[in-house]
Subunit: 335 residues, 2 copies
């Protein structure tokens, strides 16, 4: 018996489909390019000539993250551009907590079976969000791994590099007892808690309309993680901000804690805002303890800004002037 010659294709890896995907994303990637991109697309490394004018001591601020199992909602709904936007905005918010502005972004897609149209949708979303945040999509990688990911499944990872001036870095170190914590609303679960949310909501369909929710369940679950860059940039230009936190996994307390100096703590007034209906639905369906809810989900507050008492009104005014709904959610006290 003569056996068939093996190929990469017969083992489940299609270089032809990869070429098709690369052709499909090229325009999207290049749509993010600005004058700081150096050289052309397709080299082993993405080259970026940072504009350092006006920066005394440049600090590169970076972060890497993924979308978590929000992906499985996207895969079920066959909508792939929103998660591309999610991952960019998530990373932008992470480095924004230090006061950094995005320079460039790199994406990674690990996928069970490469489908060029799916990759193109993901990268389209990434590119759109990159443009919105003034960020170049400088590089990326697709890896087709049929033995790790199930057919149709993928993981999506993003890495951002931004820049800040050392003297303007914000890290919470100037916080003192009495300082105020202002919460900026989230617009949904953002990208955290989906493994739990999906489990407790599994009896519903994505196109179900549930009392209290604006859109279908699928629309609510796929709402794009908002970017706080534009709002926070406005605030930073006229308010002395002392600390910022992006409310992701481990919730409002767990994340704010990361920027509070030793000997102090953040105390929250959980009655200061109304928890959006989606969180209430999840809590009710899963009979989840309130402490667990607050540890896993953002509960309606996606970003926290800490400032002195005297700056609170000005900060609230700026945010309200932009149509946002900032809330005083807590304060800094001694431990």
């Amino acid at each position: 018996m003569k056996s068939t010659p093996q190929t990469y294709q017969s083992a489940g890896v299609s270089l032809a489909e990869a070429d098709k995907a690369i052709a499909g994303i090229k325009t999207w990637v290049e749509s993010t390019f600005n004058s700081q991109v150096y050289g052309k697309w397709g080299h082993f490394g993405g080259c970026f000539a940072p504009d350092l004018s006006g920066i005394k001591t440049p600090i590169l601020v970076s972060s890497t993250d993924s979308v978590g199992t929000k992906l499985l909602v996207a895969i079920q709904a066959q909508v792939h551009d929103t998660v591309g936007q999610d991952i960019v905005n998530h990373c932008v918010n992470d480095i924004l907590t230090c006061g950094a502005k995005p320079l460039f972004f790199l994406d990674y897609i690990g996928i069970g079976t490469l489908q060029a149209p799916v990759v193109e949708q993901i990268v389209k979303g990434i590119a759109m969000a990159c443009r919105q945040n003034g960020c170049v999509l400088i590089g990326g990688e697709m890896a087709e791994m049929p033995d790790i990911y199930k057919i149709g499944d993928y993981d999506l990872v993003g890495t951002i590099v931004g820049i800040a001036d050392r003297d303007k870095l914000i890290n919470g170190s100037s916080l003192v007892p009495g300082d105020i914590l202002i919460g900026i609303p989230s617009n949904g679960l953002h990208t955290n808690g989906y493994t739990l949310a999906r489990k407790v909501l599994s009896k519903f369909n994505l196109d179900d309309r549930i009392a209290g929710l604006e859109g279908t369940l699928g629309e609510e679950l796929l709402r794009i993680h908002r970017s706080y860059l534009s709002l926070i940039s406005s605030i930073l230009s006229s308010v002395k901000v002392k600390a910022m936190a992006h409310i992701t996994g481990s919730g409002l307390e767990g994340n704010t804690k990361r920027v509070v100096p030793e000997g102090m703590k953040a105390v929250f007034d959980w009655s200061a805002w109304e928890v959006p209906p989606l969180f209430a639905l999840i809590q009710q369906e899963g009979k989840i303890e309130i402490e667990e809810m607050r540890r896993v989900f953002n509960m309606g507050v996606g970003f926290v800004v800490g400032c002195g008492k005297d700056d609170v009104d000005r900060l609230l005014d700026i945010a309200r002037g932009r149509g946002d709904k900032p809330m005083v959610v807590g304060e800094i006290t001694t431990k």
Copy 2:
């Protein structure tokens, strides 16, 4: 019937195990820190103050990649530090092709069930390789996703940012017909072609000793992707290098093509070196066509350096002086 309250833990995500993993990796991560790290561990973004002294126009060169299904060999062998080194060296080599030196690295581990000891081994490997390449492990992320990854499985993604001076960037643009391509040996499959290799070698066990191979099959398959940084740095300090290519997926021709100017091509003499036994074994077991082998695997050449004819001897001498075995593998011609 009263149902049990749901928790993140009951949905398959353990924040406690994540805390354990973070405690386990802290020392490894901090072992990579140098004076350019700004601020402390645990913020939302990693802060790095690049030393720009001696650099006229800084270019940030970045790349992101994964280890591919070499991971499944590591998982089967229960060895997790080598893949950590693989991903760092892979990324270091990618940006080295432009002449960039590593500044910092970020890792991402997506995992089915978080096991702190496994994560610690992976990060130990990453940290070791970071130190060897003078690179800081500035950030990272673990995501426990039981609905995407099988129990025991994980994906490992790395992103590197390095720096080069614009006037010293190497991109192949100065290549002319007659220039010579020198191949530097690989030390195994590096991190490419594993989906095919694993398939055709599946009848063997990892601890099998196969005629012609130095170690067990498992040892051969897990050999750490070598870093070319030290060798190439030596070469760059005394030879005018015109182009470099890292031989990964799509092989010697596919990768070298990326740095050859329009109107020219790279012509290889495939008889110039002996293909190592591991590749021959894979080819034989899978009855794989030679063209497919050359497209999928590095075939013994892991890095290519292009230079003028007059520089060849000097380049070969430097590499040989360091115990390496460089080979003239091809030349540049008109198309």
